[in-house]
């Protein structure tokens, strides 16, 4: 497998774009040189890169492609809407239909707003929490990703100390630390923003304990703070009605994005009626945020997710994949750790704090035409069949066979 076209394109990109490719799709965060840099075409659960290499895709655009590339029903809906126009002077009826759909689907939701990316609405949601409470402080999970705004970016550049004076973080599942922060900032906490489970990069995923979920619910209620669920990565992937229902969170606001429209650009925030007036006072807009085609795609995707019980399907496929992967590790004498829900699993080599062996394993697997990431959770696609999972596992088995000759694996 060669990546000559990817490399050539990247040389052009590096000359005219900071980083060459920036953000989460940067090759710098994977294993540069061992993975494709540019995509050409997607179909079902596979995609082709610019060199013509085809991969069984376990990242799905880092989450959006929950139903796979070119899902006919979703694409037909988006196409029909696009045929009528784009970025009108006004929203189309699809705006109302989608808001109604979400408020019907999500038990606590009485209203919905829309943007393009998760970060658009995580930022807006903390402003809503501040507007509702009149307080400044936001509590967040240490290491959780909520976007690229100054209050939460994982990057270092361009920040000033005042960006985070009203942000306090604590370790996931650490009830004592959370209680201490609420006590320390008594009367000052506007909101607690959470991901349903902890899915940091460069670390295992961690599921919430029931006690932690209960503490989040209790402390927000006791202190009059809003609970904000950042369901951007997990939403509609673990359940059809939002991840809070799986784990027992009682959010006031929740943000959805990736699986909402199967790759079409849209995000949503839903909230309770009691916060609707305050939400109306927090200015919210973007040039393309009322664009109808992604809304049509979201309506179709939400229908398919419920009708075809996609979360259950993803869980079953994911379990088959994780079980098979772990078995391959055992067969080849490589201890592996699996974490996260099976629908969005992450596996790495055990006792590998440097990630060097995990990176070597990832390199070998990508070389066999299975695209995974060494440092980020993966995403099962509903376009996969059991045969696709088995084919991926067969290829991963070949990758394991090649490991003894893979640089860094033995180090």
């Amino acid at each position: 497998m060669n990546f000559d076209q990817s490399q050539a394109l990247f040389r052009r990109a590096a000359a005219v774009i900071p980083g060459g490719i920036y953000g989460h799709t940067t090759p710098a965060a994977t294993v540069p040189g061992a993975v494709p840099y540019f995509a050409a075409e997607g179909f079902g659960c596979r995609y082709r890169d610019v060199d013509g290499n085809v991969f069984i895709d376990f990242m799905g655009g880092y989450g959006p492609l929950v139903l796979g590339y070119h899902h006919p029903e979703v694409e037909a809906a988006a196409h029909a809407a696009r045929q009528l126009g784009a970025a009108f002077n006004h929203p189309t009826p699809l705006l109302v239909e989608l808001a109604e759909k979400l408020t019907q689907r999500i038990d606590f939701a009485d209203w919905a707003v829309f943007a393009k990316n998760g970060a658009d609405l995580t930022n807006w949601s903390i402003m809503v929490a501040r507007e509702v409470t009149g307080r400044p402080k936001i509590l967040k999970i240490r290491g959780a990703y909520h976007g690229t705004a100054a209050w939460c970016t994982p990057g270092h550049g361009g920040l000033i100390p005042s960006d985070r004076v009203d942000i306090a973080d604590f370790p996931f599942n650490d009830i004592t630390a959370l209680e201490a922060l609420f006590a320390q900032h008594r009367g000052q906490v506007a909101g607690l923003i959470l991901t349903p489970f902890h899915h940091p990069a460069f670390a295992d995923s961690v599921l919430p304990t029931p006690e932690f979920v209960a503490a989040c619910n209790r402390l927000c209620r006791e202190h009059g703070a809003l609970q904000i669920l950042d369901d951007v990565r997990c939403g509609f992937r673990l359940t059809a009605d939002g991840s809070h229902s799986l784990y027992g969170y009682k959010p006031d606001l929740a943000i959805y994005c990736k699986a909402l429209a199967n790759g079409h650009p849209i995000s949503a925030c839903v909230g309770r009626a009691s916060h609707k007036a305050a939400a109306s006072r927090v200015f919210l807009t973007g040039s393309y945020w009322s664009d109808p085609a992604p809304m049509a795609a979201a309506l179709a995707t939400l229908d398919i997710i419920a009708r075809e019980q996609i979360p259950q399907r993803l869980a079953l496929l994911g379990q088959r994949f994780v079980d098979g992967f772990l078995a391959l590790g055992k067969k080849h004498g490589v201890d592996l750790i699996a974490s996260g829900p099976p629908a969005m699993p992450y596996l790495r080599v055990k006792d590998d704090p440097s990630f060097m062996r995990t990176q070597a394993l990832c390199t070998a697997i990508v070389a066999q035409g299975v695209f995974i990431h060494p440092h980020h959770n993966w995403f099962i696609s509903a376009a996969m069949t059991e045969a696709d999972i088995d084919e991926a596992l067969r290829r991963i088995g070949i990758a394991f066979d090649s490991l003894p000759t893979t640089p860094h694996f033995a180090s």
């Binding site: 990109a13 060459g20 090759p27």
Partner: protein, 249 residues
């Protein structure tokens, strides 16, 4: 800790110890440090651990924190006075003994001048050594910053432990920093490597040292390769930048 005391710590723990490693690589430095008999100087600055530099007759320099009887011993009543000395300005240094060695002091002075030349100038003749020395000092300075800066302990806790190795084909040897012990050195570290940072060429390394490297682009192009725990490399580079800024002329 004041700016002067932190800067004095960086000189005592990062800049002066570089004399030892660079004397093994640079004939001019060895020549400057050579003499008819062995000589050692111990520098003591109020509030800091001492720094001993021992000069062999062939100009090889070794460094430690333990003074020996007979060393030329200089005591500086403040960090500011010590910093005046290392920047070649007149300063107050009180005698601590070893005055029979006074005639050898020129070797420390000329070796220091050569160190300045290597670290501060970019002649083609010693560019690789300049880069290596700069990185050597930067790593030791990062360790020193983590030890002494008020934000050091919290920053160290966030960084975690692990050993970072820097490599480049033009360098005399790899350089490493062990964040568990805050020791740095050259060659192969004793502890397992957590992240290996390999610069493909001198230009890439120089760009990094000048804080002008588009690192994500360099990673994609392969002129920079980072194997292992990337966040550690990213976070350490920020500490190196902070410490390096304190040492800029």
């Amino acid at each position: 800790m004041t700016g002067d005391t932190l800067k004095a710590a960086l000189y005592l723990e990062a800049v002066l110890p570089a004399l030892a490693e660079l004397s093994a690589q640079d004939a001019s430095l060895r020549s400057a440090a050579a003499g008819s008999r062995p000589f050692a100087i111990t520098l003591a600055v109020r509030g800091h651990s001492r720094r001993r530099l021992a000069f062999a007759t062939d100009g090889a320099i070794t460094t430690s924190t333990t003074p020996q009887p007979g060393d030329l011993s200089l005591w500086f009543p403040s960090a500011g006075q010590f910093l005046r000395t290392v920047s070649n300005r007149s300063a107050l240094a009180l005698p601590g003994g070893g005055w029979t060695q006074l005639t050898q002091l020129r070797r420390f002075s000329t070796a220091g001048a050569r160190l300045d030349t290597l670290l501060q100038t970019r002649a083609d003749a010693h560019l690789a050594l300049h880069a290596w020395g700069s990185l050597l000092v930067a790593l030791a300075a990062a360790a020193s910053w983590l030890r002494h800066h008020p934000d050091g302990p919290a920053t160290h806790a966030r960084l975690g432990t692990g050993t970072v190795v820097f490599e480049c084909p033009v360098l005399p040897a790899p350089l490493w920093l062990d964040l568990a012990t805050l020791n740095s050195g050259t060659g192969t570290p004793a502890s397992p490597v957590t992240v290996r940072i390999a610069f493909g060429d001198l230009a890439t390394l120089m760009a990094e040292l000048d804080n002008q490297l588009d690192a994500p682009a360099a990673l994609g192009l392969g002129t920079l390769r980072i194997t292992g725990y990337l966040p550690l490399a990213e976070n350490l580079s920020l500490v190196m930048l902070k410490a390096g800024n304190l040492l800029r002329p």
